[in-house]
């Protein structure tokens, strides 16, 4: 009897030990963040803390007033891109203000371009004060960190974040054409934006179509007409094309003779006859592409 007791106790002990050992043999999850969370928070500087607080505040506001947290798009990625494009001159202004090494002169030698930039950025301080939600005065690293914390909620936003997808991701022509339709009708500010997702369509469809339309084999010339036509169209769709806009500043940086008051003036007085005529010839093609009339 005693022996049986011992046997039973021994067996129970054995089972316990086996079960305990088996549980210990499972590999635990590797922690993704090795450093404790508190330490990571310390690495953010105060500007970013302000952004987070503002974001939290806007979430609160959203509960109270659902429509007041965005200006151009509910999708935070699209919102940020449009604001960055529209106010790129001011963003550049603040980058120069905050950097001891960078200034306009170090990047661009022409006095005309320098004076144009000064005129275009004259209201940036006031704009930043009146609209802190534009986040004009944050540096590039902070902007990237902020963008990485957001998720696209629309097709356009996903296209803007196309660089995150695997390198061989293919977008169908239908999707691209749909995207262009949305841009033309809802976001004309983004018509000239170089979508990575659209590059294949550009090379395989748009450039060959325009070569046929313009009767030229010169790819560089076709690319030039494509860019100008897109700008022309986005200006027609009420995108800001006056001095201080990113459109005019980008043109001024290419050519000092393009540092003028508006795209209208540039088109009528600074482009050659041939280029003007070809832009107007290509315009209906882009109107069809962007589904606007």
């Amino acid at each position: 009897m005693q022996t049986t007791k011992y046997k039973i106790i021994g067996l129970i002990l054995l089972v316990i030990v086996i079960v305990f050992s088996l549980r210990q043999n499972q590999v635990p999850k590797v922690e993704e963040n090795i450093r404790p969370v508190k330490q990571q928070e310390k690495e953010f500087n105060t500007a970013t803390t302000v952004i987070i607080k503002q974001a939290q505040k806007s979430k609160k506001e959203q509960k109270e007033e659902p429509n007041s947290t965005y200006i151009y798009s509910e999708d935070p990625i699209v919102e940020n891109h449009i604001i960055s494009l529209k106010y790129s001159v001011c963003q550049t202004y603040f980058i120069f203000q905050n950097s001891p090494y960078l200034n306009f002169k170090s990047l661009y030698n022409s006095k005309i371009q320098h004076d144009y930039f000064n005129k275009a950025s004259a209201n940036c301080e006031k704009l930043n004060k009146d609209h802190p939600e534009y986040l004009l005065n944050i540096n590039y690293k902070e902007r990237i960190t902020l963008m990485q914390s957001k998720t696209a909620t629309s097709k356009i936003g996903q296209m803007l974040e196309f660089y995150k997808k695997p390198i061989n991701t293919i977008v169908s022509n239908q999707e691209i054409e749909e995207l262009y339709g949305i841009l033309g009708n809802e976001y004309p500010e983004l018509i000239s934006y170089p979508f990575i997702a659209g590059m294949k369509y550009e090379v395989d469809t748009i450039i060959p179509d325009l070569k046929e339309l313009l009767f030229t084999t010169n790819t560089q010339y076709v690319a030039k007409i494509t860019n100008l036509s897109r700008m022309y169209l986005s200006c027609q769709l009420n995108n800001d094309c006056t001095m201080g806009s990113s459109t005019m500043m980008s043109l001024c940086l290419i050519e000092t003779n393009f540092c003028v008051a508006s795209f209208d003036e540039l088109f009528n007085e600074r482009l050659s006859q041939g280029v003007q005529a070809d832009v107007l010839l290509a315009l209906p093609y882009f109107k069809r592409l962007y589904q606007v009339e």
């Binding site: 090795i34 030229t216 600074r270 070809d278």
Partner: protein, 397 residues
């Protein structure tokens, strides 16, 4: 007793099993511990020899070419021609280098050609290949290169020297040839003046690394041109070639003087430089107005017209520069410039450029290609505007 023995045995076995499982747990603990810790690749401590580092950082020696290899003065049967023909054929021989070298090496030219045009193609890009039409013209061009060889086994260096020697010895006789002979030194002199004007306007100090590098580059350019002319000391140079040699020597002396401080970039120097710059541009312009050589026009036009966009009514400088080179070519075609489908420009457009080739350019003349394919019909308004300017000011035929 036996029962006790069995009981004891059983207990011992039990303890052994427990010990075994405990040991397994201990080992697995170590495994889990290591799997939750970031693994680092162990640093292999290898002995790195100084020699291997020196080998990596020593610049690679370029192969020294014997430019007179195979050249036999006694067997040189190159026909005497006028200076312009001598120049055109010499230029074509240089463009045929890899073809003739492939004949010398008993290799096919096409694979070597593909290697050359794909030299800068990245790994993820599709290597370029010629289409059937382009290959047809490539074959024709290879055959035309073979025509320069005196014999099937003549080395490229020998072919090159025969045509080079003839070019440097030929004297200009007609006005066309004399205009052409003047254009090359004018071009080199203009480039040198422009170099000084662009780079020395703020003076020179040895501490300015960018400027020192530019001066060294210019020095190498002048030295290179001199050594190229003087490959063969058996050549009796024409007078214009001697003048050219003197000019390069003067350039070298001036550059060395700037570097060693014997020439001081003071206010007087800069005033003289500015006046020289202005007077040289005027001199070029006056020369072109009376010039009748198309090659002279093509040599000097880029130097004179590249910054004149606003004077010609074009505010878009890049666009103006991109079309001006083609328009200058169309103007040169109205003189005596070779503009057929075998011309250097059309061969480049058809298949030879490493950047861009256009099958529609194959078999076409320069005029046909530019007016019916390259320029859009609307661009012809700009072409007409610039051509009118050139004809009004520089047409002399």
């Amino acid at each position: 007793m036996t029962m006790k023995k069995w009981g004891l045995t059983f207990l011992v076995i039990l303890m052994a099993v427990i010990a075994f499982f405990l040991y397994q747990r201990f080992v697995s603990d170590e495994k889990t511990l290591t799997s939750s810790v970031v693994t680092t690749i162990p640093i292999k401590k290898e002995k790195i020899s100084k020699k291997s580092i020196i080998k990596k950082i020593t610049p690679k020696k370029t192969e020294k070419i014997d430019w007179l290899a195979g050249y036999d003065k006694g067997k040189d049967a190159t026909k005497t021609v006028d200076l312009i023909t001598a120049f055109r054929e010499f230029r074509k021989v240089k463009r045929c280098r890899f073809v003739i070298q492939s004949f010398n090496d008993n290799k096919e030219s096409y694979p070597i050609f593909l290697e050359i045009i794909n030299k800068y193609t990245r790994k993820n890009q599709t290597p370029k290949e010629l289409s059937a039409i382009q290959r047809q013209y490539f074959g024709k061009w290879v055959d035309s290169c073979a025509d320069f060889m005196q014999s099937d086994d003549e080395l490229y260096t020998s072919v090159h020297e025969r045509y080079r020697k003839r070019f440097y010895q030929t004297k200009p006789k007609t006005k066309r040839e004399k205009d052409f002979a003047k254009s090359w030194p004018y071009a080199e002199e203009t480039r040198f003046i422009n170099f000084k004007y662009d780079n020395l306007i703020n003076g020179y100090t040895g501490e300015n690394v960018k400027l020192t590098r530019a001066i060294n580059q210019q020095t190498r350019h002048a030295r290179g041109l001199l050594s190229y002319i003087n490959i063969n000391d058996d050549i009796e140079f024409s007078e214009r070639t001697n003048q050219e040699i003197n000019m390069y020597q003067q350039h070298l002396n001036e550059l060395n003087g700037i570097v060693d401080g014997s020439i001081v970039i003071d206010d007087n120097y800069l005033i003289n430089l500015y006046q020289l710059y202005e007077s040289n541009n005027k001199k070029l312009d006056e020369f072109l107005k009376q010039n009748i050589s198309s090659e002279a026009f093509m040599t000097l036009a880029p130097l004179l017209f590249s910054n004149k966009n606003e004077g010609m009514g074009f505010y878009d400088k890049k666009y103006y520069q991109s079309i001006m080179s083609n328009i200058a070519l169309l103007f040169a075609c109205s003189m005596d410039y070779p503009c057929d489908s075998d011309s250097k420009e059309m061969v480049l457009n058809c298949f030879k450029s490493s950047k861009f080739t256009d099958e529609s350019a194959c078999g076409l003349s320069i005029q046909d290609y530019n007016l019916n394919h390259y320029f859009s019909p609307n661009q012809l308004m700009d072409v007409d505007q610039l051509l009118n300017y050139l004809f009004e000011n520089y047409a002399n035929n």
